[in-house]
Amino acid sequence: MAGSGSYARGDQPRPVPDKLKGPYEEVVRRQQAINAQQATSEAQRRAAAAGVPPTLSGPPMQGAQPPSDRRKFDHPGALESMIPIWGSGKEALADLEDRNYSGAAVNAALAASDVVLAKAILTGLAKGGLKLAGPHAWRTAPWEEPGMRKWLGQQGFLKPGQPGHHWLLKQSSNAPDWLKNQPPFIKGTRGNLDHGRMHGPYTQGGVRYPPYNPAELLWHETPQWAKAAYVSSAGHSGMAVGRAGADETELERRR
């Protein structure tokens, strides 16, 4: 066993004056003060952010949001935000409460697209939905059993004389009649010229009209319900991803 190295003192320790004790204690005191200041600052930041996680349209305005216990509308969770109308509507109200007006506008537009989609589905169902029994041929001759075009007219999907455009499954495609001639895949056009330009160049009254370009075609041939579905699905997916991230951050904080 190693001793203190002093035979004369019988291996007993000897006192040594600590010249650095004062400066050392000063450094410790200063560091503790800094730590305390940082802890206070972090606590204040967390308190301010509590219940107001980032939204689809960006973080809310700093200091504008009311404390979580005084909120009228909470932001929806990731799953809740996927519910059409409810999720986006609730998010819009919460954004409005946070005075995040651009976010509220985006979410209100998303809720409106949900309404358009829901209305289209309900209206389609009210008109008979899909034609279950045949014949499903698009247009039969007047002396034959009525085909799909006549049924679509009788049910109110198309007006008398209104050309119906096969916007998704083309009429020339190999898709069966019972599928491609169903109401969701038929877009009522504005007229023969409109319909003709969806298919290519069209001559009417001696004037040759060019076909729609891809952007025009997408706009003109896509039915309202499909446009609303595009917006709705993209918006809700984006919102759910944003909410999932916000929920994860919230969990991290609680740990």
Partner: protein, 173 residues
């Protein structure tokens, strides 16, 4: 049941029943086989397809429909339930028995004239079909080409079969 042997294809003249209960102008329907004549949807029966109609067979004989009886359904029960669920019971197909009596003789000239008159009543359908076909061609049609061609084919036909063949040939597809 009184049903003579008909020579097919046959042609039925009928007056569709409008929503207000009145009868519209005369139309005609083709029956390519006995199945076509004896299996008819509920919606077409409700519109009066066979009720009091006249049938001219390929031999040029005229028959009057005295009575129509529903003796069964071709549509399976489960499918009827599905149709009812979606409010599409008009598509339920009934199996029919008909009482037909031979009526006074009819000249084929009269048949041709009545068919042409019925085609004129459906001129809109001809025009719409033609405009749809024009979309594929890329050029709007001028006038009533196919309808006039069909009437011309009808006026040259000597049997019901020739009449339908002539109309089929010019029907825009």
């Amino acid at each position: 049941m009184r049903e003579p042997d008909l020579a097919y294809p046959a042609l039925g003249f009928w007056k569709p029943l409008a929503r207000d209960g009145r009868r519209e102008g005369e139309r005609f329907r083709g029956f390519a086989s006995p199945v076509d004549l004896h299996q008819v949807s509920q919606g077409e029966l409700a519109r009066g397809l066979l009720d009091g109609s006249e049938i001219v067979d390929n031999a040029g004989r005229r028959f009057l429909v005295q009575d129509v009886r529903r003796v069964g359904r071709k549509t399976p029960m489960w499918f009827q339930f599905l149709l009812a669920l979606f409010g599409q019971t008009d598509d339920v197909v009934h199996i029919l028995e008909l009482d037909l009596v031979e009526g006074p003789p009819i000249t084929f000239a009269e048949v041709r004239q009545r068919v042409c008159a019925a085609m004129d009543r459906d001129a809109d359908e001809w025009l719409e079909a033609e405009l749809e076909a024009a979309v594929e061609r890329g050029r709007a049609s001028e006038g009533r080409g196919p309808l006039e061609a069909a009437k011309s084919a009808v006026s040259e036909a000597k049997t019901v079969q020739e009449m339908f063949d002539g109309m089929d040939a010019v029907w825009p597809r």
